[in-house]
């Protein structure tokens, strides 16, 4: 990890823009393709001005065809370019499923190592923004089953820069998830210059003694708020930001559970078969005799989608209060 003395405060969307700009400036093999990334400058204005600065060959507006975006990018990557494909919203990624799972993830294996697929697929995901059925989905569980695919889901500006840089430089495909509710609500210091956070490394955002809370995305911020609130009640909770979903940082999770003996997993994606299921199974396999309480998962409900009505969205999203309640119950157990 590079240590840089100077930092700049930015929000998450600025961190993405800053990192992409740095990549395009430093490596002529990098390019961006996706819907509205060129003339429009991305729906969140992440790539605004990039078309003018880097030209139409490196900032490519595509048709509304996700299979095409990823398929073309896979070909580019196999032939030595470093494409950064964008799926405008994670909800639209399904047409590209075959290109991601069937092609990108298997390229290295299928070619016996002759070809790699250094491809990044960025996409905003997650709810809590009145995005309703087509602008709220979490997709990580659909893809984390797939060997050969890496998934990152950082939610702090510095982690976004470090992990996006690592993803762009990685020789294999990386699905890069950006929680859209954190885009402008989360600010932080970002190191200037080159900054890399290795893929597959979690981060203990708050140290504690009585309970390990593992989360990622928007909920890391809420879990940290809940933990700070509980500290006033004398409850000491450790909060781990997974940052990378695959590879999963087993070491950090297990170390924490060995200390606190209790594990709470919080994520926005559906509970059934979600990331929490894998973490719980892993801890049960590796550290059953460290557990002093049943593992608990606080997750999105198993309903088909997040409703538009505020009541339905609230029912889907987990409030900081619910997190604090669950944490308190587990510590008292």
């Amino acid at each position: 990890m590079a240590v840089t003395a100077r930092t700049t405060v930015m929000n998450n969307v600025e961190a993405v823009r800053h990192t992409l700009h740095q990549a395009l400036t430093n490596d002529p093999n990098t390019l961006i393709l996706g819907e509205d990334v060129g003339a429009r400058g991305n729906v969140f204005l992440i790539t605004k001005g990039f078309l003018e600065e880097f030209g139409a060959a490196r900032v490519i507006d595509t048709p509304l065809a996700e299979a095409c975006i990823v398929g073309v990018a896979v070909g580019m990557a196999m032939e030595g370019l470093r494409p950064i494909a964008e799926i405008q919203f994670a909800d639209f990624i399904y047409p590209a499923f075959n290109q991601i799972v069937g092609e990108a993830a298997k390229t290295r294996y299928r070619s016996n190592g002759d070809y790699t697929c250094p491809l990044v697929i960025r996409t905003p995901y997650g709810g809590g923004v009145r995005g309703a059925l087509s602008h709220s989905v979490s997709i990580e569980a659909l893809f984390y089953h797939v060997p050969g695919l890496k998934i990152a889901a950082p939610s702090f500006p510095a982690d976004i820069k470090g992990l996006l840089t690592a993803a762009i430089e990685d020789p294999d495909p990386v699905l890069f998830l950006e929680h859209k509710k954190t885009y402008r609500s989360v600010k932080g210091e970002v190191p200037d210059g080159r900054y890399v956070v290795p893929l597959g490394k979690a981060d203990v955002k708050r140290e504690g003694e009585q309970l390990s809370v593992v989360s990622y995305g928007l909920y890391v911020h809420q879990a940290l708020d809940a933990a700070a609130r509980l500290a006033e009640e004398g409850i000491s909770a450790e909060v781990i930001d997974l940052r990378s979903i695959r590879p999963m940082d087993r070491t950090t999770i297990l170390q924490s559970v060995r200390k606190t003996h209790k594990l709470l997993i919080i994520h926005e994606d559906h509970k059934f078969g979600g990331i929490g299921a894998e973490i719980a199974a892993m801890v049960a396999e590796e550290a059953l005799f460290e557990l002093d309480a049943p593992i608990r998962r606080l997750c999105g409900p198993d309903v088909p989608a997040m409703g538009y009505a505020q009541t339905l969205e609230n029912a889907f999203m987990i409030s900081t209060e619910r997190m604090a309640d669950a944490m308190r119950e587990m510590v008292r157990f």
């Binding site: 003996h261 005799f289 460290e290 557990l291 002093d292 309480a293």
Partner: protein
């Protein structure tokens, strides 16, 4: 076949668990309703438990020597005769549902590593669950002795409970303390005069204790706030005057209760006290002997103490001590004459949430007056 699950009964107000000391029935044995089928020991009492039903002993859920929480199952009896035991038919599932004695994987592993028996621990978790930290804490002294040389005496169940209650009392009750000096010359003489005859008649020694208990009990009837219990919803006045008498045994401390002590005469109090002390020494005190005390008397003077500041037993307002009787020159009477008198201090610890100094001092003065004007009519 319908079954009845027998659970660990509450053998005293503050008793939370009991240890199986002897099974009187084994699986397959016939059991009559009310027939004792197991002996249970708590830190304070041993008791035989009567069977709630007639039938056949099916399963002994708890082992001899095992400590079981109140309410946890200890045995299952086939309730052969009954055909209407619908509620009991569902009870075996309680065994599954009772979590307090099921230990988490971490607790089991830590207990094994630290050689701690988790069944002997008091859980700090929800519903008394023993947590991993409880095991680590219990194992602590072995790893970090507080002094370089010398041995660590393991806490017995009784010692641990005494410690817990002392701490709880000191933490929750704001203790205030006062003392008075009582001239017991006359009552001391009365006792000396009567003691041989008393022992011949009743078979027990006559001491100053029953006189003192009588004075305290009488004072409690006149100062009901001293015979009360502090609760958040209000001060509860006890209807009865039940005196707990402190009996110290080897490593244990028992408070058997003389019920309605205010209704008893000195001789009756002497007999009751002697009987309770005997049962305490034999370990035959029953739960009823220990429950319901409303005020405590401690004869600290028996060991030569002249002043003590006792801790108030939980659920009581006051504890009174009688200190050693000592002959001293005393200035007395209107003529300021000096006389050798038998003097005794009485110390009072009180719950300052309930009573203030005026009542407390008046209460002690009442005891003093009773004893200084020893009423021969109150004896035997």
């Amino acid at each position: 076949m319908p079954t009845t699950v027998v659970t660990m009964p509450q053998l005293g107000e503050t008793v939370t668990e009991g240890t199986i000391s002897l099974w009187l029935k084994k699986p397959g044995d016939a059991v009559e309703k009310y027939e004792p089928f197991v002996e249970i020991a708590t830190d304070k009492v041993s008791a035989e438990l009567p069977s709630p039903v007639s039938g056949t002993m099916r399963e002994l859920v708890a082992q001899v020597g095992q400590t079981v929480l109140v309410g946890a199952p200890i045995a299952i009896i086939d309730d052969g005769a009954a055909t209407t035991s619908v509620p009991t038919a569902t009870q075996p599932s309680d065994i599954e549902g009772n979590d307090a004695r099921r230990f988490s994987p971490a607790v089991r592993r830590l207990a094994r590593e630290h050689r701690v028996d988790p069944r002997t621990l008091h859980g700090s978790g929800a519903q008394g669950r023993v947590t991993a930290n409880d095991v680590v804490a219990a194992a602590q002294p072995k790893h970090a002795p507080e002094f370089a040389d010398g041995q660590t005496i393991a806490l017995t169940q009784a010692r641990r409970l005494i410690a817990q209650r002392m701490v709880e009392s000191k933490h929750t009750i704001p203790h205030a303390w006062t003392m008075t000096e009582i001239d017991v010359t006359d009552v001391w003489k009365l006792r000396a005069r009567e003691k041989d005859a008393f022992e011949r008649t009743h078979g027990v020694k006559l001491t100053l204790l029953p006189f003192f208990i009588r004075a305290v009990a009488a004072a409690l009837t006149r100062f009901p706030l001293m015979n009360a219990l502090f609760t958040e919803s209000g001060i509860r006045l006890n209807q009865d005057v039940n005196i707990s008498v402190v009996v110290g045994l080897d490593g244990n401390l028992l408070l058997p209760v003389i019920r309605n002590a205010d209704k008893l005469r000195v001789a009756e109090l002497a007999l009751a006290t002697a009987a309770l002390a005997e049962k305490a020494r034999n370990g035959t005190l029953k739960a009823d002997d220990l429950a319901g005390g409303t005020c405590t008397v401690n004869n600290t003077g028996a060991y030569g103490s002249v002043l003590s500041a006792p801790i108030i037993p939980l659920k009581q307002t006051a504890v009174v001590t009688m200190e050693a009787v000592i002959k001293r020159p005393i200035v007395r009477g209107d003529d300021d004459g000096i006389a050798v008198r038998s003097m005794m201090n009485a110390c009072l610890s009180l719950d300052h949430r309930i009573v203030d100094g005026i009542i407390a001092c008046s209460f002690l003065a009442d005891i003093k007056a009773s004893l200084e004007t020893a009423d021969p009519a109150g004896f035997p």
